[in-house]
C-alpha cells in the first residue's frame, strides 16, 4: 500500500467526453499548485492525468476520477484515482510496453504516465474494470 494520510475531501469528476479530459487536467493542475509542486512536477502530473483520463475514456468507456491532496508528514502530494467499469486490461505487461497500442495512439499512455509520477498502482479485471492510482510528491 502507498503511505500517506489523505487530507481534505477528494474532488471528483466524471469522465464522459473530451471536454471532461480537459476538466480533469484543470482540476489536477489546481491541486498540484495548492500542494506547491514545482512547475516541472506540476507539468508532469497534469500530463500523466491527461494520458490516464483519455485511457479511461477511450478504453474504459468512461469513468470517474478523484483528486486528493496527501501528506506523509514530510512532504505533500497529489493523489489521483481513475476508475472505470470497462473490459479491463488483458495483458498488463504488453500494455506497459512503449509503443504498444490497441487504440491507434502512440502507445505511450500507460508506460509514459508511470514514468511521470512517483507511485503508480493498477488493479484490473474483466469483472470490475480498471482502477489506477497515481501519486506525485513535492520535492
Amino acid at each position: 500500500m502507498t503511505a500517506g494520510i489523505d487530507l481534505g475531501h477528494p474532488q471528483a469528476q466524471a469522465i464522459r467526453s473530451d471536454e471532461d479530459v480537459v476538466r480533469v487536467r484543470q482540476l489536477v493542475r489546481g491541486v498540484a499548485v495548492a500542494v506547491k509542486l514545482s512547475l516541472v512536477d506540476q507539468t508532469k502530473v497534469v500530463t500523466a492525468a491527461s494520458e490516464l483520463a483519455r485511457n479511461t475514456l477511450v478504453y474504459g468507456g468512461g469513468g470517474t476520477v478523484e483528486v486528493a491532496t496527501v501528506d506523509n508528514g514530510r512532504r505533500r502530494g497529489v493523489r489521483i484515482v481513475f476508475a472505470d467499469s470497462g473490459p479491463g486490461i488483458p495483458d498488463l505487461d504488453l500494455a506497459f510496453t512503449d509503443g504498444y497500442t490497441t487504440g491507434g495512439g502512440l502507445g505511450l499512455g500507460l508506460s509514459g504516465a508511470r514514468r511521470l509520477v512517483d507511485e503508480f498502482e493498477i488493479e484490473t479485471s474483466p469483472e470490475t474494470g480498471t482502477r489506477i492510482t497515481v501519486t506525485k510528491w513535492s520535492r
Binding site: 479530459v21 497534469v46 494520458e51 495512439g105 502512440l106
Partner: protein
C-alpha cells in the same frame, strides 16, 4: 466545440494555440490547417505553443501529423515556443516529436522557414548549369 484560429502572414500560416484543447479541437485544427495550406498556397506553417502548459501524447501526435501533412503539401512546419517544463515532461514521457522542426520563438521560426525556402531555391539554381559561371 472551440476552434483554433489560423492566421495568414505573407507566405506563412501562423497558428497560436491559446486554449487547453480538447482532443476534438486538436483533430479539427489538423483538418483546418490542411485545407488552408492548399487554399492559400503557403509554404510555411508556424505553430506557436507558448501558451500551452502541457503537451500530452495526443497533442504530440497531432503536431507530428500536421508536420507530415504539410510536408506532403510542400509546406515546412515549425513548432515554436515550447516551455522548458513541457519539454522536460515530453522527454520523460518518451515522446520524441520525430520529423518536427522546432524553434524558440515565432521570430526564429520564421527565420528557419525562410532559410529552408532559400535552400530549396539554391538547389534549383544549382541545377542550372550556367548558375556557377554566372556568379563572379
Amino acid at each position: 466545440m472551440e476552434r483554433v484560429p489560423i492566421l495568414k502572414i505573407g507566405d506563412i500560416l501562423l497558428v497560436s494555440i491559446q486554449l487547453d484543447m480538447s482532443d476534438q479541437t486538436a483533430v479539427a485544427l489538423q483538418e483546418d490547417l490542411a485545407e488552408r495550406i492548399v487554399a492559400t498556397g503557403c509554404h510555411g506553417v508556424i505553430i506557436d505553443i507558448t501558451a500551452l502548459d502541457i503537451v500530452d501524447s495526443f497533442v504530440g501526435r497531432m503536431l507530428s501529423t500536421i508536420a507530415s501533412i504539410s510536408k506532403v503539401l510542400d509546406a515546412e512546419t515549425v513548432v515554436v515556443g515550447m516551455r522548458p517544463a513541457v519539454a522536460i515532461t515530453l522527454v520523460e514521457l518518451g515522446l520524441s516529436l520525430n520529423g518536427i522542426r522546432t524553434a524558440l520563438n515565432v521570430e526564429r521560426g520564421m527565420e528557419l522557414i525562410a532559410a529552408a525556402r532559400a535552400d530549396e531555391l539554391d538547389y534549383q539554381l544549382d541545377d542550372d548549369p550556367d548558375a556557377e559561371t554566372a556568379t563572379p
